[in-house]
C-alpha cells in the first residue's frame, strides 16, 4: 500500500484542467433538443410505413381533443421531471428534493390511462378486453423510445453513478415518457396500458444495450 500523502502528490502532479459538468437544467434541454425531434420523426415515419396512415392528420385530430392534450402534457411533464431528476441524482451533492418532481405528472398520466382503460372496459366489455401483447405495436415503441433512452445513457455515462438505482429508475421513466409523447400523437390503437408495459420493457432493453455499448466507449473506471 502506498502512503496516502504520496497518492495526493501523484494526483496533483501535472493536473490537467477538466470541463465542468453542465447543470442538470442545461443537460435536460440538450437531451430534449436531441431526443424529442428524432423520436417524433422516427415515430411518424414508422407509423406511416407499417400502418400506412396519415400521421399528420392523426396528430392534428388528437391535439383537438382536450383530454388527449391534457394526457400529452402530463406525459411530457413526466419526461421532463424524471429526466431532470435522473440528471440531478447523477451529480453528487445536488438536492434530493427534485426526486419528488415526477410524482404529480406521473400520477396524472396514470390516472388518465386508468380512466381510459375503464371507459374501454365499459365500451367493449370484459370478454374483449385483453392485456395480450400486440406485436404490431413493437416497431412504434422502438422507433419512439430508442433515441431518448440511448441519448440519456450516453449523457449519464459522463459521471459515476452514486445513486445507481435511483438514477436508472428516473432515467427509464423519463425516456419511456418522452417516447410516449410520439406514441400518443402518431400511434392509432388506443391500447394505453399494453403500450405502456411494452414501452417500459423496450426502454429497459435500450438501457441495457446502450449501457453495454457505452462501457466500451468510456475508459475504465480505475484509470486516472
Amino acid at each position: 500500500m502506498r502512503k496516502t500523502e504520496d497518492l495526493i502528490n501523484i494526483l496533483s502532479q501535472d493536473l490537467s484542467p477538466v470541463e465542468r459538468l453542465a447543470s442538470p437544467g442545461k443537460r435536460l434541454l440538450f437531451w430534449l433538443a436531441i431526443a424529442l425531434p428524432i423520436s417524433l420523426i422516427l415515430g411518424s415515419v414508422v407509423e406511416q410505413k407499417t400502418l400506412g396512415i396519415d400521421t399528420t392528420q392523426l396528430a392534428v385530430s388528437r391535439l383537438g381533443d382536450m383530454r388527449m392534450v391534457i394526457e400529452i402534457i402530463a406525459i411530457f411533464a413526466t419526461a421532463i421531471s424524471a429526466g431532470f431528476a435522473a440528471l440531478s441524482s447523477a451529480q453528487p451533492g445536488r438536492s434530493k428534493q427534485v426526486w419528488l418532481l415526477p410524482i404529480v405528472p406521473l400520477l396524472t398520466w396514470m390516472a388518465l390511462v386508468g380512466e381510459g382503460c375503464w371507459q374501454l372496459w365499459l365500451e367493449i366489455g370484459a370478454d374483449k378486453f385483453t392485456l395480450a401483447p400486440h406485436w404490431s405495436c413493437y416497431p412504434s415503441v422502438v422507433a419512439t423510445g430508442a433515441v431518448p433512452a440511448i441519448a440519456l445513457v450516453l449523457m449519464l455515462r459522463r459521471t459515476t453513478l452514486f445513486n445507481p438505482t435511483v438514477t436508472v429508475g428516473f432515467a427509464t421513466l423519463g425516456a419511456a415518457a418522452l417516447g410516449a409523447v410520439g406514441l400518443r400523437l402518431f400511434h392509432p390503437p388506443d391500447a394505453t396500458v399494453m403500450l405502456m408495459l411494452w414501452q417500459l420493457v423496450a426502454t429497459v432493453s435500450f438501457f441495457i444495450i446502450s449501457g453495454i455499448v457505452a462501457s466500451f466507449l468510456r475508459p475504465a473506471e480505475d484509470s486516472l
Binding site: I8, L11, P17, R20
Partner: protein, 187 residues
C-alpha cells in the same frame, strides 16, 4: 472566508488545472475523509485503503463539482458511497476467504507438503538439463533453440537447417519425452 468556501475555491482552481491548489485541497480534506470513513471502519489499514479509494473517486469526479453548490455536500456524497462500496467488496472477499494459522497437510508424504523446497532441490540437481541431454538429436536441437534460446521458428529453422514443420513436431515430441522423464525422476 469559511472553510467550505475555501474548499470550493480550491476545487474551482483545481478544475482549471492548478495542481498546487489541488494538493492543498486534498491535504486539507484528508483528516475530514479519515473521520467520515473512520465512522464505519475501525481497522486502520483498511481505513487508509478506503480513504485512498475516496480520493481516487474525488479525482475522477472532480468535473462534476459545481462551484455554485456547497462543497461538503458534494464531498460527503462521494465519501459515503465509496465507503459503502468498499465495505461491500470487503465483506464479499471475507466471505470467500478462510484464515488459518498453519496450512493443513494435504498428503501423507512429507515432500508433497513442502513444494518450495522440493522445487529448489530440483533446480539444484539440474534434472531438466540432464533430461534434455538424453533427448534424440533433433528434439534436443529444437528445445535448445526454441525454448532455451527463445528463437523464433523462422530463426531456429535458419540455424538448424530443419524445416518449420519438423521443428514443431520435434518440440512437441520433446515435451512429451521430457514430461515422461521428469515424472520418472520424481518417483
Amino acid at each position: 472566508m469559511s472553510e467550505e468556501q475555501q474548499f470550493s475555491q480550491l476545487m474551482a482552481l483545481a478544475q482549471d488545472g492548478d495542481g498546487e491548489a489541488y494538493a492543498k485541497l486534498l491535504s486539507q480534506l484528508l483528516p475530514i475523509l479519515r473521520r467520515i470513513v473512520g465512522a464505519r471502519i475501525k481497522d486502520h489499514g483498511k481505513l487508509e485503503d478506503i480513504v485512498q479509494n475516496v480520493l481516487l473517486s474525488v479525482h475522477r469526479n472532480r468535473h462534476t463539482y459545481d462551484p455554485d453548490l456547497p462543497f461538503m455536500a458534494w464531498l460527503t456524497t462521494i465519501a459515503h458511497r465509496r465507503t459503502m462500496d468498499s465495505l461491500r467488496t470487503l465483506y464479499r472477499q471475507q466471505k470467500n476467504e478462510v484464515l488459518v494459522d498453519e496450512y493443513p497437510e494435504t498428503f501423507p508424504s512429507g515432500g508433497a507438503n513442502n513444494a518450495e523446497e522440493e522445487a529448489l532441490a530440483f533446480m539444484a540437481s539440474d534434472a531438466l538439463g540432464a533430461a534434455i541431454e538424453k533427448l534424440p538429436q533433433g528434439q534436443k536441437t529444437a528445445v535448445k533453440l526454441l525454448k532455451l534460446k527463445e528463437l523464433s521458428l523462422k530463426e531456429a529453422s535458419a540455424v538448424s537447417g530443419m524445416s518449420i514443420t519438423a521443428l514443431k513436431v520435434a518440440t512437441h515430441r520433446a515435451m512429451i519425452n521430457l514430461r515422461r522423464q521428469m515424472k520418472q525422476g520424481t518417483k
